[in-house]
Symmetry: C2
Subunit: 273 residues, 2 copies
């Protein structure tokens, strides 16, 4: 049975050329999948893939369409937070029986849906990852997962604990807001890209202090990549920062997570895998 | 009667040359003030003005010394959050009868002290502002305030409402943590520097959603300066962003605040001026 995947852009726009490349890869290697790029993926207004209303309407249309088995976010960037709260009350029965896949800024929508108990949120590579060198392997990982192959799952999920995975900045911006899910007993995995070391330390301060009383099972550190060079070295490695803030806030540090803004980024279904 | 002002560095280091210039200005124009730079202002380890323990010890020593009337943070940068929670239980009676002055990253300590009801927190220009072109006017503003002159107060404080003033990123990192004061009925002024427009929008999303139920009197927007150019224009002016998020979260937008990372940055005593 063919599985139909709707692709939309809650944050920033994609190009038709790159969409064609993703379609070609899926067509050649995943005959059991039918990818449908919503035209809104190619809309553009200022920073965003179209105005808030357009992005909201496209996401809701994909989610509410019973013909689709999953909604895949084409890329991150910034902007999902501007439609997440408005989307929830518009979602109907078909939206509850779907997977939602993406990461980075898309984590805002994954979190909101997870909090509301709507469908299955999944941290997973996105179509935009095809732009990375060797990016086919990342895109294939999500497509294989959508065909039912669990090989791309983040390895520590084998411990059987419920988990979530977030870009650190995205999670930080959710902490303290009504969009943050109840993370009690969950392993929280974080990764970051293109932030100064001092900013990573600041985000870890924020997130660990916000989650100190949330009863999480612990924190896992994904990759922190493309750190810009500051006017002087920070003096601490990222893992030392995590140790520091976990110790300060009484959160268990559980070790590494195999996630990041790169082609090795693994799959983390929110909740129980 | 001479007022004695202790200067320390909870975040990043200063230089002896610039300290000498601040001393010279104070000596020439403010004979009623006696500024004392703690040696820790010139300590350096990685990003910080010395390790956490050294910055903590210097701040606590200044705060607990009955010979001082005020503690002035030499500059921001990043790091006050690493000592704020540890400092509070170490503060003794003399610390309760003091002003604490600074802004930017120093807002973390101002918030923590304000929350704990220790002394008087004051958003005010710092010694480092002397490095700006025409920076003497900013440094003089704080020195005049310390001599009892209210001329440098942020003008909207004339409305008689309690207020606080924060760097937007600094406030965002406090929201949802145990360091955030009760801001019920307070006007919250925010300013930002050197953040992309999309990041400012994201911070406003976070702060307004976090404060939506905090019962604040409203938000005032200070200057958002040195915005880096992104690969594409954001499409919204900062004031439009504030309007948007205030409307979404039911927070009153009260207009402009005369604060920012610049020489015109005015004085905002936390609570009632």
């Amino acid at each position: 049975m063919t599985r139909r995947i709707a692709i939309c852009a809650p944050s920033t726009p994609f190009t038709r050329e790159d969409a064609a490349r993703v379609m070609a890869l899926a067509h050649a290697e995943f005959p059991g999948l039918d990818l449908v790029f919503h035209d809104q993926c190619f809309a553009s207004e200022g920073h965003f893939a179209g105005p808030d209303e357009v992005r909201l309407e496209a996401f809701v249309a994909c989610a509410n369409d019973p013909a689709f088995d999953a909604v895949w976010f084409v890329r991150g960037g910034y902007g999902a937070n501007r439609i997440a709260m408005d989307a929830l009350p518009l979602l109907e029965a078909p939206a509850y029986d779907k997977q939602y896949l993406g990461y980075s800024d898309g984590g805002t929508l994954l979190a909101s849906l997870f909090r509301a108990g709507i469908g299955q949120s999944v941290h997973a590579p996105m179509p935009v990852d095809l732009r990375r060198e060797g990016g086919e392997v990342a895109v294939r990982r999500t497509l294989s997962w959508l065909q039912g192959d669990p090989a791309g799952l983040e390895p520590s999920l084998a411990d059987g604990q419920p988990a979530v995975a977030f870009n650190l900045m995205t999670l930080a911006m959710l902490c303290g807001t009504p969009l943050l899910p109840d993370l009690r007993n969950h392993v929280v995995m974080v990764e970051e890209v293109a932030e100064y070391h001092y900013a990573v330390d600041r985000l870890l301060f924020h997130v660990t202090n916000c989650l100190a009383l949330a009863g999480i099972a612990g924190l896992r550190l994904g990759r922190v990549s493309q750190v810009p060079e500051n006017d002087r070295p920070f003096g601490w490695a990222v893992e030392e920062m995590v140790h520091h803030w976990c110790a300060k806030t009484g959160i268990a540090y559980l070790g590494a997570a195999d996630i990041g803004h790169d082609v090795d980024n693994k799959i983390v279904p929110f909740g129980l895998a």
